[in-house]
Subunit: 363 residues, 2 copies
DNA sequence: GTGAAAGCGCTAACAG
DNA sequence: CTGTTAGCGCTTTCAC
């Protein structure tokens, strides 16, 4: 910058002005500066800028490196769009609309200084996919810049002051379950959750229970099954267990095979479809299967999977909007908490005709 | 940082050491510092750090905001994974492996200071999707930091010094065309390109020509058709034109409908499938249709689309590796140029049985 | 092992 | 409209 100033015969202040506020500089001067900059190959230092102006014009996003090994190599992993990809997309778009760029990093452990801290130090504010970052670290960081939590509701009270966006897990599962109950007249439903108690999954289960309770179907207070992980492999295992009557908790089935397997996510449901096909159990004729999430894979499997679609792109957009609102000092003091609506995708695996666009109709 | 130093009774130099090189500080001191930092909610400033150490630990990526309006709202645009998404994924992963974060921004016009410049100023090096950034600007920036071009080959000689990675467009199209020629015995092939001459598309067409020439099929030196854009709508229009004998250039068909429509990308091919269905022309019985890219949609349409799959995730990974190599001062002076291999996906639209995993087999 | 001091490259008043 | 002058918060020799 000093060189540019010298070469164009002005002060560094003027060079600075040319970039930050072009109109405040006489056109001729401006051209001279720009020309010098071009000749010198001048690239303004974002760091120095940020330091001096205490703001970076960058938003951050931390997400888990969620690579389910089961799906990792489908199509060289080209086709399977993960949550994080969609959130990234939404957030980048919204950020860009407001002139921000997006810094992304999957969480990674580290010494006293994790990648999160590194990201945090380079952005004006950032979003975190729930449970990606140690609570304590988040707490510390959130004292200095706006942070919004994504998807997982405020698990920890020490994080209650954070803004937060999630999807309607409970309502979605409730609607789906009602569909099974009322439209398909099913009664013996088995819910498959996960050991590791996740707020999202618990909310979904609550929706399931509520629907069952309203229909007078007793399914107990616990999922029929809790698997250690929410992967395809575990989904397949769950299906096997359920078929073999390996459980009698909360299915209301007394060992009989349930009429519907209600999975806490699509991954497991897809694994189940696979296992059922292997065993020769027909879906949906012999048993209905449902998932949750609406991942692209859910439309690729046969039968197509009935599920609850989450608006992940919107999630990312909302995160950016919220952060930018905070940065502008709008959105008062109160922490904001948004719940994005979901929609039930009725497809073949519950016995519906798959009328959904997509196979070709969408084109 | 000064506060942390004071509170823990050390100098700022020591605080700095605790974060950058923990082992150079006595354990007791270190703990004291860390505790103070926690109490104060200290978040190291990435900017100040970068300024002082002249490096950011961040890689950048500029991509076009490629939102084909035709596909934009499929499934709330949740399902359609764009190129950029895959490249982002690959690049983030590779960057992370080496301790870098990734700063992303879709290109956007601006005053003297575009978003690109902003990104450039905040990263140690970055990748650019071809034709996303004005050549001149790139030239200037690349004098200061490593830049790698993605996908589009060195269009401009002033950019010849840049590293660059692309996919085997020509070979891919060549293989696909040979398949049509030899395995399906087709002769009257029509290639559909685009007006706006793109290096990728030209390379693909060269592959097409080469295969035709080798098989003794004359198709002239120009694509049968060049559409203004590579969208579904244009693909549909192209199919109509071809069916109506609206061209007699280079099809070798003299107005008769060609036996195969070879599209320069999947988008157009998908649009064509749609148009053909409308007209009652059966694919592949009446005419074969092929695309290029291997977008997820190509597996969702019926018939599934025969195409050439590009390894976009690898592209992103390579970009990151290349940059990091440069930053480490490895990879000598010479610009590196990589060509990633592609693979032909033989699916239903060319008359092959779609044996490809994915519908269920992949699970 | 720890402190002191000199910048890193830019922005933002404040004068002129 | 343009120049002067302080820092912004950290890293980094170089002493101690």
């Amino acid at each position: 910058m000093y060189d540019v100033a010298e070469r164009s015969g002005v002060s560094i202040a003027t060079v600075s002005r040319v970039y930050r506020n072009p109109d405040s500089v006489r056109a001729a001067t401006r051209e001279r500066v720009l020309a010098a900059a071009r000749e010198l190959g001048y690239v303004p230092s974002g760091n120095a800028r940020g330091l001096a102006s205490r703001s970076t014009g960058v938003l951050g996003l931390c997400f888990p490196d969620y690579a389910d090994p089961d799906t990792a190599d489908i199509e060289d992993d080209d086709a399977a769009m993960l949550y994080s990809d969609q959130i990234i997309r939404g957030m980048e778009r919204a950020a860009r609309r407001h002139g921000y760029a997006l810094l992304i990093a999957a969480s990674l452990e580290g010494g006293p200084e994790s990648l999160v801290a590194k990201v945090a130090g380079r952005v004006d504010g950032f979003a975190v996919l729930a449970r990606t970052v140690p609570t304590e670290e988040l707490e510390v960081i959130s004292r200095r810049r706006p942070v919004v939590m994504l998807a997982g509701p405020r698990a920890d009270p020490s994080l209650d002051h954070l803004d937060h966006v999630e999807v309607a897990n409970e309502d979605g599962q409730y609607e789906l379950t009602r569909h099974l109950l009322h439209n398909h007249g099913l009664r013996r439903l088995a819910y498959v959750g996960v050991d590791d108690t996740s707020p999202d999954v618990e909310a979904r289960f609550r929706g399931f229970r509520r629907a069952c309770a309203e229909a007078g179907v007793d399914i107990g207070t616990e999922p029929a099954l809790r698997m250690p992980m929410m992967t395809q492999a575990e989904g397949a295992r769950a299906a096997d267990l359920l078929c073999d009557g390996g459980t009698d908790t909360g299915t209301g089935t007394d060992g009989e095979r349930p009429e519907a397997f209600v999975f806490a996510n699509d991954q497991m449901a897809v694994g189940a479809l696979q296992a059922l096909e292997r065993r020769g159990v027909r879906v949906p004729d012999d048993v209905a299967v449902t998932g949750f999430d609406g991942i692209p894979l859910s439309r690729l499997v046969r039968p197509t999977l009935t599920t609850v679609r989450q608006p992940m792109v919107r999630l990312g957009e909302q995160a950016a909007e919220l952060l930018i609102g905070r940065l502008r000092g709008q959105s008062g003091e109160e922490p904001v908490s948004l719940v994005l609506p979901v929609s039930v995708a009725r497809r073949a695996s519950c016995g519906c005709a798959d009328t959904e666009p997509g196979t070709f109709g969408a084109l």
